[in-house]
Amino acid sequence: MNSIFKHWAATALITVSSVAMAAGGDGQSSGQAPGSGNVSKLQYLQKGEARITDPAPGWDYLWKEVLIDITVIGILFALMTAYFIWRYRRVPGGPEVGSAPKLSPAAAIGWAVIPAFVFLADDFFLAANGWVLWNKYRDVPADRLEVHLESGMYSWDYTYPNGMQTQNELIVPAGKAILLRMTSRDTLHSHFIPDFRVKEDSMPGRTTYLWFLPKEAGKEHVVTCAEYCGVMHSYMAGRVIVKTPEEFKQWYEAGGAAAKKSS
């Protein structure tokens, strides 16, 4: 029994420290510029500072981390299972029945409680990491371009602050956070931009939002519908077109004037 309690204490300690490590990553700063490809763990854990933290590289980092986590668990389990299958196969002349020992009450409790704590430790570690990144996805930088999106069968209709409208083409300046406030005029849709690792449903009667940070001018990113919305669901696609701030400004002001004239 004594050893079991030692295990408990050790596991609880691992849990607490891993949660603390994951949640308390702020306070240390890395001097990297926003959007540089080389993202350290600390960078995506930072919060509250003035510069824009892009959740997309954070997603890549966390994905890699979780992938390592589950691969290690999976390989350990699979190796153990494969070893048991091989080691305890019936051999000619060997025993006809198995001989697993009956667990004592203490061992039975230990075999339930210790794995439970180990699993919980990993769960809370991952939950803390996931939560931190979640906050990045939900906290929109104050310096942003806010575009209204109305989705419909089967198009994405964007309205810019100056009243200008585009369909299926979201034209944005590089280096500025883009916030989409979304609603739908008919069925459910989901504005999915795989390159920016983000999607959120748009639906009638509710307003949802998502934001992302376009970086490279001249690039185009696929927008696609991720929520089954009707017969032509798979054809509901669009593009995010990234321009340099100057190009964007020119386009935006020209379009804004046109929008005013027509209204």
Partner: protein, 523 residues
Amino acid sequence: MNLKEWIFTTDHKRVGVLYLIGSMAAFIVAGVMALLMRIELSTLGPTITSNPSSYNVWLYAHGAMMILGFQIPALTGFFANYCIPLMIGAKDVAFPRVNALSVWLFYVGIILALLTFFIPDPPDVMWTGYPPYSTITAGNTALYSFTVLILGFASIIGGVNFLTTIAYMRAPGLTWNKLNIFVWCTLGAFVLQLIFVPVLGTAVTLISMDKYLGTHFFDPARGGDVLTYQNLFWFYSHPAVYVIFLPFFGVLFEIVATFAKNRVFNYNAVVFGGIGGIILLSGVVWVHHLYVTGMVDWIRIGQMITTLMISVPVGLMLIGLVGTLYKGSITFETPMLYALGVLFLFLIGGLTGIPLALTSLTLHLSETYYVVGHFHYVMAVAGTFSIFAGVYYWFPKMTGRMYNEFWGKLGFWITFVGTNIVFWTMMDIGVKGMPRRYYDYSHFSQFEGAHQLMTIGAVILGIGFAIALLNWIIGAMKGAPAGDNPWKSMSLEWTTVSPPPHGNWPSPPSVSEEWTPYAYDRR
């Protein structure tokens, strides 16, 4: 063989076999739908149909048939009916006529579902039936609602019947701590069905009322809310995953214990920690299906934590299963191959669910092929392999005959390879952004090669399953006599003759103090 005797039977074994035949028919239909979809997706743009609606109907039929027509009825209909009275030493179930009613309702449900292919405006609402689309589509949403309601009702009366049977009809001496793990698992599944099916019934009734009777439960223009449906639907449909998971894990425990000739490792942890834990948690994780719907943050975060905590009971059950191999004397007949295959497939499926539990990762992964690959591994494939393992395992008991061992093993390996080709590739392109439910992936043309690989995998998978089905049909007709207990199992169902007569035993069995279903080691 007299057809009328079978239709009007109240014998739990015949009711079980009727469930098996119906659910296998549903499985074949669902499999054909899957192949049609895979062939359609083998090239960019239209392949075998130029009408996206046909594809959407196949997709609806595949999902509805797999879950509502095949897995739930095979696990809680066939296995529960056939095995539970035999495992607890009862002559029959508590309410044999109610049992007959439940299988009749099941067939009505299957026939309603099959009508999809014969009416001019078939349902195209996916098995989830989300409004507003389901309330404005030209497709027949009512058919979807009634199929769900009828099958749900069959399930509820089955649940009442089995809970009563397990509680009151165990043989003398067969105490709760000597129940087969499968019986515990099914008990857990039926508790979940009784709690949650009415919620699903409510949800699908409300969409039909919205569509046909002019109510506005889900119409925001008139004060309704589209998210209410999704909450109601997943409040049932996530526990439904455990309605499938629990019995198929129960089947695995029976098979692994028998072929390892070993006691179940840490029985109490499996029953109370594993099954009990799943029942407790199953009702508070549904929001992980709504991570990208703009639900308030606190509930998305809260249910991220409860979802991750599911790893504890599931982990305890997996440890129980792997632990049962420890110091066993393992042989590798076909049922055991399928069962061991599930151990690995379920491991992949379970672990790939962990990224999906994290709200932030889901913002990219949700509604992609990654999700489809994950739930096929963890539920569709693991469940189907377990059902096939179980049918092989109890085949000699049902028919008194033996299937062909060579073709059984060959079928397993072919299926195992095909499965991994299809669903591993699926997860891979999902992470890279391939969205699900796409008739045409023209703006993701980089995935054409992967889609073709999956089509080949699906054909291999289909061949493997066809071999198993033929093996059963041929084995049932002219297999060699199997004897009463070919696997030398300790469990009670193997103590009667094969196939068991009406009433199961000439005189009711009783069990001794030291007997358990897993008492192989009599030192």
